[in-house]
Symmetry: C2
Subunit: 432 residues, 2 copies
């Protein structure tokens, strides 16, 4: 039976999961693929820490480049993360004609164009199932399962940390800060949580999906990004009352003016499947012109789920190598082609506006007038009973208007003396 | 650019969708795959009917075998359906070393073992994405995306007709017969609907998924099958009141005693994603030992969705052919290995029982005594207010017990003089 030699770069949580998976599923993989895997070398800066998985210490080294160069290594698994050493090591592997499997979403989002170009030049594949959606085979679904579809839209809950925080806020009536601390205590959020809660991680994944869907590099700067930091319980409650849940969505949508990529806390109708995705789970809805809407759900992170995705990529590499085939179709179909991107300012959205309005007659009319002048029409208004104090919260749900119209209108409204605090604006998605 | 010649067998709804898809997505597929498709010949008994898609009449023939034999045909797409001519034509194609793409679930469920054996013997692949879940790439997810997972369970809403009927019953308060007629009027159900509503179509798909998950042939006779024919509004209403929706599920579950395969109308907790799947949509939840729970959702049937799956298979075939590779890993990993199947009688289930009980004191105790003697303990009882007449409906929710215990107990109970009508029994799934 043919054996594929693996060089592993990065022996952290996911790396240990991959090693454990290779050991545990040895027989399963051999039966299903008709070939075996052998872990040749493992590079990590820390050679001492116990990862909870037994490996021959002689496999361990601090020299990642030596692992890539080792002639016994047929495929390089990059789990170091980040945009430093990881990028050089991947390019080094490709230069040697060694296929690469990576979970590095930050790198692919920032430097995917160079990496896929190098892969194309060397006719050597880069697989990246683990970069988006953890154990959900979304890359394979998009790249192969929906290969005959022109993609109209992608809506994804792509960050388990944020979804955990939102679920906890809703279910436990916990304010944002308490929910974040709970996520940190549970190991779902980092001590420095901004990559997750400010939406950057979701943006990385949205950009990777957009690049794959449209076969073109998509610069990270093309995505307009808002996170969930400081989201108020009051807005979650209002949303629920109106029949919505708030989810942090990565959205890729093809319109007449091009492809828009954005990350936003979004009001999702409660009857929609995405609204039913709770805790650390992820889900991605893809709309294709033939298949229509399909949705993919599962664990977005974690040791074994991510290992499942890495092992699936290794199986694809192994099938290629066993057949003497060195590559699959390029990720970016038309080299040099650039995608027409829709400027974030032009994207049309419906909004939820929570104004803090002076509690006197005629105030709402003044706000409505400014909105109207900016082409924003009102679908409904909800005014809660007055609390102690001069101001009352007023929730306005609008019809569609462009982002820039909302921004201009709110810049004026928030300067009016009748407004007691900056207006909260959230998008509403109707999935039409 | 290399061109793959296609021979199409069966020019019905899906066949026309495939032809339309090939025409419409010609440029997309060429860009993504680096090769082209050419439709060489189309076989159908009816050469006259307008399929709403333009094809050169010279491609049409009544002679399906000639299409398979045509040297210009590199791959055979079988969309005839059924277990007659389709099987012979597929075997003929494999004998010629021509890869096959099929949507034929009935054939694969009944004769998959022979077909996959022939494929293995000729080292020629059979692809069947369109046989389960329409446009959902579930076969690819299970076979490739989750390749490193041992599968613990699969729960699927696999028949859009039944799900449409159930959704309509619930949303429109329509009794079963009216909902079936509505499904027929909408083109979702056949004039002779038993294949769908009696659960057979779901069983075909469950057996295909089980065979794929465990790498062994699974005989159709292994599945215990109940459909939704005659399901009462009363039970849907009771289920809703108790926090459940009724869905027809295909269930494949690995237990200590083997793999159980069954099709049953099932009470699904309303918070579960499967409960939120409405109308003609399908969804499949797969539990793998590494990935954990993943779920796949989309259109289970229809011209373009099914075509999307067929074209995805054609893309896989094309990649193989372009690389000079003729096969992928076998569907049934260990030739000759047989799967240990759990007898349906031994499967442990929780049940919903609706008894029609004489309205006198002490009657429930008599029923409870019989249940207890058969090892069935009661979790809760719901008795509606008495109606006119001697009998009242009493709903009992049980804890887990084996199927045969329920059958024995109800055989006795339904013979008691205090019972006014046969007891309705439905399974409750907690997905644990």
């Amino acid at each position: 039976m043919k054996t594929i030699g693996i060089g592993l770069l990065g022996f952290g949580t996911v790396g240990a999961g991959v090693v454990e998976g290779l050991q545990r599923q040895d027989a399963t993989l051999a039966a299903r693929l008709g070939l075996g895997f052998a872990l040749r070398r493992i590079a990590d800066l820390d050679l001492e820490r116990d990862r909870g998985v037994a490996v021959d210490r002689s496999l361990l080294t601090r020299d990642a480049a030596a692992v890539v160069n080792d002639p016994a290594v047929d495929v390089v698994v990059e789990l170091i993360g980040g945009c430093g050493a990881a990028q050089q090591l991947i390019l080094q592997a490709l230069a040697l004609g060694k296929p690469v499997v990576t979970a590095n979403k930050a790198l692919l989002a920032a430097h995917g164009a160079e990496i896929f170009q190098a892969a194309e030049a060397r006719q050597t594949p880069v697989y990246f199932e683990a970069s988006v959606g953890g154990g959900i085979p979304i890359i394979k679904a998009l790249r192969e399962g929906l290969v005959a579809n022109n993609i109209r839209s992608i809506y994804g809950i792509l960050n388990g940390t944020c979804n955990y925080i939102l679920t906890r806020m809703e279910q436990e009536q916990a304010p944002f800060d308490a929910a974040l601390r709970a996520a940190q205590a549970a190991g779902y959020a980092e001590a420095e949580p901004s990559l997750d809660i400010d939406g950057h991680d979701t943006a990385h994944k949205a950009v990777i999906l957009a690049a794959l869907a449209y076969g073109c590099p998509v610069p990270l700067s093309a995505a307009s990004v808002e996170g969930i930091r400081g989201l108020a319980m009051e807005d979650l409650g209002n949303a629920l009352e109106m029949g919505y849940r708030i989810k942090l969505l990565g959205i890729v949508k093809l319109g007449p003016a091009g492809v828009g990529v954005r990350v936003q806390p979004t009001l999702v109708p409660r009857a929609h499947l995405l609204a039913a995705v709770s805790g650390v789970f992820n889900a991605i809805q893809v709309d294709g012109d033939l298949a229509g809407q399909t949705l993919y759900y599962g664990r977005g992170a974690g040791r074994t789920a991510t290992a499942s995705a890495v092992l699936s990529d290794l199986a694809d590499v192994a099938r290629d190598l066993a057949a003497g085939q060195r590559r699959m179709a390029p990720v970016h179909a038309a080299a040099g082609r650039t995608l027409q991107l829709q400027p974030a300012d032009d994207i049309a959205v419906r909004c939820y506006l929570r104004l803090t309005l002076l509690d006197k007659p005629g105030m709402l009319a003044r706000v409505a007038q400014v909105l109207g002048k900016h082409g924003i029409s009102i679908a409904s208004v909800m005014q809660k009973e007055a609390r102690a104090g001069q101001h009352v919260p007023v929730v306005i749900v609008t019809h569609q208007a462009a982002e820039h119209q909302f921004r201009s209108a709110l810049a004026l409204i928030d300067r009016m003396e009748i407004i007691g605090a900056p207006t909260v604006r959230l998008r509403i998605e109707d999935f039409e």
